[in-house]
């Protein structure tokens, strides 16, 4: 095990995600222990497991929301940890009263990205509903709006929790395209799914109960 802490691997500028002997427990219950894996640029890691098996907890630990009981999560080749990853969770992170456009603007500020409304709207097929408040969007449109964060601000590691939830076939196709182009540009995707989304994973993790 390396003595260096996370985010200190500047000299080698190659992106990488390394998880070593990760143990996570919630409310006294061990979700998984001694989980290790590594992901290189272009990797698509699929986390599989039943509902409540700890998939979400694993992603939240990777995102830094959860403190692991033991083990190490290391991002290599990342200058600024705050600019390292996106997390798209079960909850879309949307406000019912605000319009799609207002969300794009807000995220651009929050993540220091650029709203690039047209591009986002084109890619995700949201241009007709840009000025619609979220409460009037369909489930699938809301999910696509949440995925727009991936475009608004570039991040090298994407942590996606059931990204295809509520998406129709067209939406799934767009998602797969997004993932493919992200991988092609050297990004890493870690997705928790209960059924395979589409792209063939470079690595599959089964999270045991």
């Amino acid at each position: 095990m390396s003595a260096r802490g996370p985010f200190q691997d500047k000299p080698q500028n190659k992106l990488g995600l390394r998880v070593e002997a990760l143990t996570l427990s919630r409310g006294g219950r061990v979700l998984f222990d001694n989980l290790s894996f590594a992901a290189a640029p272009g990797a698509y890691v699929e986390v599989q497991g039943a509902n409540g098996s700890g998939k979400t907890s694993l992603l939240r630990a990777l995102a830094g929301f959860l403190r692991p009981q033991s083990g190490e999560i290391v991002f290599e080749g990342v200058d600024e940890p705050a600019l390292a990853f996106h997390y798209i969770g079960h909850a879309n992170g949307l406000k019912r009263e605000a319009t799609a456009r207002e969300h794009l603007l807000y995220w651009a500020g929050l993540f220091s990205g650029s709203p690039s409304e047209d591009f986002v709207a084109q890619t995700l097929d949201l241009h007709r509903v840009l000025n619609t408040p979220v409460r009037a969007l369909s489930q699938g449109q809301a999910r696509r709006l949440a995925l727009a964060r991936l475009i608004v601000a570039p991040r090298s590691i994407w942590l996606l929790d059931e990204p295809a939830a509520a998406l129709d076939d067209a939406g799934k196709a767009v998602l797969n395209e997004l993932i493919a182009s992200h991988r092609a540009s050297g990004g890493i995707v870690v997705a928790a799914v209960h059924e395979p989304v589409g792209p063939t994973p470079t690595q599959t993790l089964r999270v045991p109960r």
Binding site: R60, A63, F65, Y106, G109, L110
Partner: protein, 216 residues
């Protein structure tokens, strides 16, 4: 746009589309209306009791806006996104507080004038009443952030939130009501400003610490 500006702007918009200061102001005016109904319209009595009661009503109005402040963010996933921002959570929390103060605190300050007049406060005291309300609502919002963050995961946590926050309201109430009543104004006003500054500086730090735990 910076994370601070984006958050501030969005919170203002959300508060505005959620009815803005309308409900808190209505609540504030309604509460002050009950005072003469309970005490009788006696002028001298109201003159003494009016300014403090305006203060109590302002404190309760701010309190009533706090319950959903972070709870909604926790439930709909917005809190996760705030945590992912390169800007520190303390700054984002501060921006939310600033927006709340502009959206609710300032309108309450303005509504304080008619309320105080209705409660027979002398007109020449209005500047003091309004200055104290502007500073006092800032202090209330600052400590209110902490209470709202601590209780964000508690369903129907309104009473708990009030219980936690009310002891923190004690210092600004004391000095604010003193300014409003015209007692030892210079000293009280400077201490009240200190309360507001302290709450605005420390409140977001404690609230952010609590929010990080809530996201676990």
């Amino acid at each position: 746009m910076s994370a601070f500006a984006a958050t501030f702007r969005r919170e203002l918009q959300l508060m505005w589309s959620g009815g803005g200061a309308l409900a808190p102001i209505g609540y504030f005016l309604g509460a002050t209306m009950l005072v003469p109904l309970a005490m009788g319209p006696d002028r001298a009595l109201l003159e003494a009791a009016g300014p403090p009661l305006v203060w109590i009503a302002a404190a309760l109005s701010i309190l009533a806006t706090l319950e959903r402040l972070f709870q909604a963010d926790l439930e709909d996933g917005s809190l996760d996104q705030m945590l992912l921002s390169p800007a520190p959570l303390e700054l984002i929390t501060f921006a939310k507080g600033a927006a709340l103060w502009v959206a609710i605190g300032l309108p309450l300050t303005l509504a304080g004038a008619p309320a105080a007049i209705a409660l027979q406060a002398p007109v020449d005291r209005l500047p003091f009443i309004m200055t104290s309300l502007a500073l006092g609502t800032a202090a209330f919002v600052g400590v209110g952030l902490v209470g709202a963050a601590l209780t964000a995961s508690v369903k129907r946590g309104g009473v708990l939130l009030a219980l936690i926050v009310l002891p923190l309201f004690a210092p600004p109430i004391i000095f604010g009501a003193a300014v409003a009543s015209g007692e030892d104004v210079t000293a009280a006003l400077s201490i009240l400003a200190g309360c507001a500054l302290g709450a605005a500086a420390l409140g977001p730090i404690a609230a952010a610490a609590a929010l990080r735990l809530q996201a676990e």
